[in-house]
């Protein structure tokens, strides 16, 4: 009653005016809040830069990994399945599917110039249709450049010169065919991953130049030979399988190299050789062929030619069947590149079921393997995701120092301002009102620090490549070596949702850091506070 009678009923608990005034005064009159704000700026910037670069790295990795495999793969390994043209037609008729292409995936031995032999992954594809599904043309390395690479300041990139040659190489690589002067016709060709041969030298500016090998001569001298892989021929050894998957033959063939590709994923670029589909089908006995029908009856009207005399006669002979060509894989690209690949995979399974119902000698729908690009890259993606998470965790943990720093600074300031707390309580400020001064103080420092930290991170990430180049030139410091990281450029994109999360984290950390001293201030006895020395 007295409290209300004497002082009225209006509350004085939430009194922002004096809190705002004191927060502003405390912020501007001491060096310590500035130090706290700098700590928040640096921690916010550090976490955001790390997350942006690592996130960009992961994004590039996923993009590169997806380049060579499309969105969904329908796979029946080793023996493969027939009538794939029909399946592709059915798939491409679906509104969810943009394009589909055949592929044979196998292992082989590639004999390279310099008498080297490498175990490689063979991908037998039809260049143009493979490009529609995977964007393969983009990965072809030897092609004319419209502008020199910004990092190639001395213009040492071969692709800046002889545009006609690179234009031809690009066409040959895309079609996986090359003109053979001996036979005067186009023959099936191969395109190697840029790292397969080991003869291309990755430069600091991120591109490749053909390397030089030292060849010993019979007279005891040596000769430097520049190896131009895109002009070389390799020898491929493949194991041909029969329809039941048994090895029936080892096929060896010399194949010209039409070009090289760079997917961006080191493993793929180091191990993969893309070869014309016809060549691979032929070498693996997966092309269209006649076979004797074991259940067939002799045909009495069959014309038989005597190989010795050349005379024709009507006679009995075995009944023949046509075995259609086979592939191990059909790659599919969805219309919506950002859509959920699992939905696309489900649709592919439905279409395959209809396809399997139409054709007798194809794997049944329940056995066929249908996987998304994410499934195929799961190990790699999850490894990078975990690495990103780990780095973020470590940096966030380091950022706890900001919280501790804010706490220490606020603790010291509350101690210094103990008398002020006593004075404020003596003129009627509530405990919560006093606490709010310090919480507002933390909020102000957090907001200021986070906004400036976000801006700093944005500026650094956006210009991270020029900054890195400058460090290289001025200080001789190269942190991001493209020969190691495999991407020429450091990812330089700040995602707004990440920025918001990190900045909110910065504000929250500061408020939490201010909370303990604020509670301490609120709990101080006014009398003890006034007597504090």
């Amino acid at each position: 009653m007295l409290g209300q009678d004497l002082v009225g009923v209006s509350s004085i608990h939430s009194t922002p005016v004096y809190q705002i005034l004191l927060t502003r005064k405390y912020l501007t009159s001491k060096i310590m809040p500035l130090l706290a704000a700098i700590a928040v700026v640096l921690c916010t910037a550090m976490v955001l830069i790390t997350w942006s670069v690592m996130g960009g790295f992961l994004k590039n990795l996923v993009k590169s990994g997806r380049t060579m495999i499309g969105d969904v793969a329908i796979v029946w390994p080793n023996v493969g399945f027939a009538h794939y043209e029909d399946l592709i037609e059915m798939l491409e008729a679906d509104p969810m599917i943009e394009a589909a292409c055949p592929m044979i995936e196998s292992y082989g031995l590639a004999h390279l110039p310099g008498d080297r032999t490498e175990l490689v992954v063979i991908k037998g594809v039809d260049g143009p249709s493979f490009d529609r599904v995977t964007g393969y043309a983009e990965t072809l390395y030897w092609k004319p450049l419209t502008a020199p690479h910004p990092k190639d300041k001395q213009q040492r990139d071969w692709r800046n010169r002889s545009h006609g040659l690179w234009e031809q190489k690009y066409r040959d690589g895309l079609g996986l065919k090359e003109y053979d002067a001996n036979t005067d016709r186009q023959v099936g060709a191969a395109v190697l991953g840029i790292e397969v041969s080991g003869y291309n030298i990755r430069e600091l500016w991120g591109g490749y130049t053909p390397g030089v090998v030292v060849v010993p001569q019979t007279d005891g001298t040596t000769r430097d030979v520049q190896v131009l892989m895109f002009d070389e021929t390799i020898t491929l050894n493949l194991l041909a399988l029969d329809g039941s998957g048994r090895t029936v033959d080892t096929k060896t063939r010399k194949i010209p190299v039409a070009n090289e590709f760079q997917s961006g994923l080191y493993d793929i670029d180091k191990q993969t050789v893309i070869v014309n589909l016809d060549v691979v089908q032929d070498m693996l006995n997966m092309d269209q062929a006649e076979r004797i029908d074991p259940d067939g009856v002799d045909d009495p009207f069959r014309v038989v030619i005597d190989p010795l005399t050349g005379l024709e006669s009507l006679g009995a002979g075995p009944a023949m069947l046509i075995d259609p060509a086979r592939v191990t894989t059909v790659l599919v690209r969805g219309v919506d590149s950002e859509g959920d690949p699992r939905l696309l995979a489900e649709r592919c399974r439905e279409i395959y079921a209809k396809f399997a119902a139409k054709h007798a000698r194809v794997p049944p729908a329940e056995n066929i393997r249908i996987s998304t690009w994410e499934d195929q890259n799961r190990t790699l993606i999850s490894a990078v995701k975990k690495e990103t998470g780990l780095v973020l965790f470590i940096f966030s943990f380091i950022s706890l120092t900001a919280v501790i720093l804010v706490l220490a600074i606020f603790w010291s300031m509350v101690s210094e301002k103990t008398k002020d707390v006593g004075v404020l309580r003596s003129i009627g400020a509530s405990r919560s009102g006093v606490a709010m001064i310090w919480i507002s103080y933390g909020l102000a420092i957090g907001l200021m620090g986070s906004l400036l930290g976000g801006a700093l991170a944005y500026a650094i990430v956006l210009n991270i490549n020029p900054i890195h180049d400058w460090m290289g030139e001025a200080l001789g410091l190269t942190i991001w070596d493209p020969r190691v990281y495999y991407f020429v450029e450091i990812p330089n994109e700040v995602e707004s949702d990440k920025a918001v999360i990190v900045m909110l984290g910065g504000v929250l950390s500061s408020v939490v850091g201010a909370m303990i001293p604020a509670i301490r201030a609120a709990c101080l006895s006014p009398v003890r506070a006034l007597r504090f020395e």
Binding site: L6, T15, V17, K25, G428, V527
Partner: protein
């Protein structure tokens, strides 16, 4: 009914493991408009008495009672006690206790900011006028923008009195307001307090150890070992 009634006030402080009884059943009654001086030696419990009357501290025992206009202030909630301090009581301390970051005008106005809360913004003009008027009355009209560090001791104490009076409290509690000042400056402060009393019949309780200062009061209460041992209606000197 007296404006303020203090009965059997007991308070003990702990210094480490030692309990130090400061007030041992002090009782006091103050009428509206009265100027009471509490006289006592250092450690006699004068300041503690003032802090308890002002609601800055709580007595140890339930039988200790402080009634303002007949109602116990320690029956109030924490919020009620905050409001009591904001609107009913004005404190003047020996060491001024001004906020060093604020200028003179802000130091006086902050009492009103705390009292009015959100409503302060609407009253800002009136509050500023009252604060300026008080400071001019204390001869500080030219020092409004100065920080406390730029003022003399006497000036600081005048600012502290202006702050205490800002919300027109029913009760002014002064804890040795001249204890840190030389005699001449102290007298000037007491003259200023006297003027206020004369103009507004302000109830004042002033704590002092100086009989000369106490002589200005209507009534002097002598405190010894935590108990009121004597009361005199004017002057002891």
């Amino acid at each position: 009914m007296p404006l303020l009634e203090v009965q059997n006030l007991q308070k003990t402080y702990r210094l480490g493991r030692v309990s130090v009884p400061v007030l041992r059943g002090a009782s006091l009654s103050v009428e509206e408009g009265e100027f009471v001086a509490v006289l006592g030696a250092s450690g006699s419990g004068k300041s503690t008495l003032l802090h308890l009357i002002g609601g800055l501290d709580r007595p140890d025992r339930a039988e200790s009672v402080i009634r303002f206009q007949g109602e116990s202030i320690y029956g109030m909630s924490a919020g009620g006690l905050d409001r009591y301090r904001a609107r009913t009581v004005g404190f003047v301390f020996q060491f001024y206790h001004l906020l060093p970051e604020l200028n003179v005008l802000q130091n006086v106005m902050i009492a009103s900011m705390v009292r009015h809360g959100f409503a302060f913004s609407a009253r800002r003009t009136g509050v500023r006028a009252r604060a300026t008027g008080l400071l001019e009355a204390f001869g500080l009209g030219s020092r409004l923008r100065h920080r406390p560090a730029e003022l003399s001791g006497g000036e600081r104490q005048r600012v502290a009195i202006a702050r205490a009076l800002m919300n027109e409290p029913r009760l002014l509690l002064a804890d040795e307001p001249t204890g840190n000042l030389d005699r001449k400056t102290g007298d000037a402060i007491l003259d200023a307090l006297g003027r206020i009393r004369a103009e507004s019949r302000q109830t004042v309780i002033m704590v002092t150890h100086d009989a000369h200062v106490a002589a200005r009061a209507d009534r002097v209460v002598k405190l010894e070992d935590g108990c009121v041992v004597a009361e005199h209606s004017r002057p002891l000197v």
